[in-house]
């Protein structure tokens, strides 16, 4: 992992707290991550784990609300939490932009798609309507909308779901922002369209060299898109590292839960779909110790009452630098390979067990 100063986006100890009549809701509680240009970070977690709140904070969308925000959000060296409201407004859509989950409700029903794209362009560029229209058509064409010079005058409800999301992406990228936040961009779409949208995002990322944060609860999307993965639970990062490490050798029981609850049509019939028991925790009164302990099936493997009493730190995992986890389990690899993985993917479990033994004998050999 690079240091805070050299990364394009660097978030440090971000906290977003909402005071309510019942107490403080800690939607995001001490989140840190880095992202380089041209790279993609996947933020994964259940509903209510603080994914969207954190990304809205990067865009400064909580300004003017009662939210209490602390920490640092350094974009290209500028702390977005320190700039004035007007400065933040000028950066929105220009340096950072966002595409939302449901493009039907996220686009204004009373204005044409072209009008909304032109608005996004003209807010940040002092150009004529004509020039903005040319730019809007160009962007619609770029995201693969057929007959863009005609469709530009259509209203959002005249577009199909996939086309609307393409138009949203066109709107998000019309000012060529350095950072694009995609908040569950494929959730409202059907599966074939999902793949097209993800391909499009990857194409555009290569073309514009932008950094992308993709927020999702779909690990398939993460596997396809992300370079790094941040797993969030109850407003905190519980596992963070390169995508391959996280997906192949996860070290935190919550990540295991997410992986085992992904349906896999290609898997053989012996694999099972294992849901995570219980419900996401209340952010008002999070559980003591590790926030995941009430739902964690491996609490008994940790000596003493550690899971219930002490909040684990986010520390480097067994795979070395760059893979962080927040868990008391002493030997997560073995538990994962022997107990968790065989449940939902026996084939992969055998492979991983072999790999682990090989690694073990290697270590012994070195000693």
């Amino acid at each position: 992992m690079s240091t805070a100063t050299s990364s394009f986006l660097s978030v440090r100890d971000l906290k977003v707290h909402f005071p309510t009549a019942d107490g403080i809701v800690k939607a995001t509680d001490g989140l840190s991550f880095d992202l380089e240009k041209g790279k993609t970070l996947g933020i994964v977690g259940e509903s209510g784990s603080g994914k969207s709140v954190s990304s809205s904070a990067i865009l400064g969308l909580h300004r003017g609300s009662s939210a209490q925000i602390s920490g640092e959000i350094l974009l290209d060296g500028v702390d977005l939490l320190q700039v004035s409201d007007e400065e933040m407004r000028r950066r929105r859509g220009l340096d950072v932009s966002m595409i939302f989950q449901d493009p039907l409700s996220a686009m204004h029903p009373y204005y044409t798609v072209g009008n909304q794209l032109m608005e996004a362009y003209r807010v940040h560029n002092n150009v004529s309507k004509k020039a903005a229209r040319v730019r809007a058509i160009e962007m619609l064409e770029r995201v693969g909308i057929p007959q863009p010079d005609r469709r530009v005058d259509d209203y959002p409800h005249q577009f199909s779901g996939g086309m609307r999301q393409r138009a949203m992406i066109a709107m998000g990228l019309i000012n060529n922002p350095g950072l694009l936040i995609a908040d569950e961009p494929t959730t409202a779409l059907d599966v074939t369209v999902q793949a097209q949208i993800l391909d499009l995002l990857q194409d555009l990322q290569r073309e514009f060299d932008s950094a992308i944060i993709i927020i999702t609860h779909d690990l398939g999307v993460v596997a396809e898109m992300a370079d790094d993965v941040l797993v969030m639970y109850a407003g905190k990062a519980v596992e963070y590292g390169p995508t391959k490490d996280i997906l192949v050798r996860p070290e935190m029981p919550y990540t295991w839960g997410l992986l085992s609850s992904v349906p896999d049509v290609a898997a053989d019939t012996s694999s099972k779909l294992v849901p995570i028991p219980g419900n996401p925790p209340s952010l008002l009164n999070p559980p003591t110790g590790c926030a995941f302990h009430p739902r964690c099936p491996h609490v008994a493997k940790v000596p003493g009452d550690l899971c219930r009493t002490v909040q684990p730190d986010l520390v480097t995992g067994r795979q070395g630098l760059g893979h962080l986890k927040r868990c008391h389990l002493a030997d997560p690899d073995t538990v994962y390979a022997n107990e968790v993985l065989p449940e939902f993917d026996p084939v992969l479990a055998d492979e991983l067990a072999d790999e682990l033994t090989a690694a073990d004998s290697n270590e012994k050999g070195l000693q």
Binding site: M107, P109, Y155
Partner: protein, 349 residues
Amino acid sequence: MLAYVIRRIFIGVIMLLVMSLVTFVLFFASPVDPAQFACGKNCSPELREQARKSLGYPPRNQGVWESNIKGPANMWADFTKGIVAGRDFPADKEMREAAPQNVVHCSAPCLGYSQYSVKTVNTMVSAAFPITFSIALAAVILWVLFGVLIGVLAAVTKGSFIDRGIVGLSLFAYAFPAFFIGTFLLRYVAIKWGLVSVPSYTPIASGGPAKWAFNLMLPAITLALLYMASYVRMTRAFVLESLTEDYVRTARAKGVSGRVVLFKHALRAALTPLVTMAGLDFASVLGGAIITESIFNFNGLGKLAVSANNNYDLPVMIGIVLMAGAFVILANIIVDILYAFIDPRVRVG
């Protein structure tokens, strides 16, 4: 679109016919003999029968079929014919032939003839309508303009003292009846304190637009205040609701300034239901602002309706009821067509 408009107008005409029929039936279900009223106090049975004939009222005491069904039905048929083709009064053919010099022609759309005022209903209504229309127009401008502006102000300052003050005051205004506010404005603002002259209707043609508007001020405020209070609260609710919409968040995420987000994105969506309400409310006020007109002694449709009711002047009452109904039906059609222009999602289909 054109087919839709034609269909709506067709349905509107049918609704008007049904409404007029119901009005006739209701009036003749009453035990009072309208001919007695039309004839006046010093009325002999002969004069009363003459009045009955001349107005075309159905005969009394001839059994339910003759007096209560066939008679009113014939009268309704004559009335409907008069709307389309115009008619002559007295309604009875023999009476017209006996005294041709007294025949009054009422051209289409003929709403009837008032024996009491010795005028056609059309004459009376066309004298009263501009007054009511002026008050209604001034009032609708006041209540929509200020209602929406103050409502938006309350929405953007939600929870603050300004918001609470506005909500409290609008409840206050809503609670006061028009006769209190109107009387207060007339007695104190105009008469006792002399801040403005006592309003009396001045047509634009005779006094110019400034004088016309100035005289309308107090009646329009009286009429508008009640509506304004409810428009403030509705606007506040609609704007607060649309501020939470995803597309408003999108607009903010684009870097659009707060003012543009509020007026171009949030208010634009909130205006749709308000336009509908304003259209229908305006139409219902056009049928006569009875209390306001009575207080300020403006001889509009409302006052005409009150005096027609007091005098049991049936043709005038039927004429006003039908006109008021026609305004509401027409406003419904206009609002529905307007909707297609406001909301692009309605345009297709």
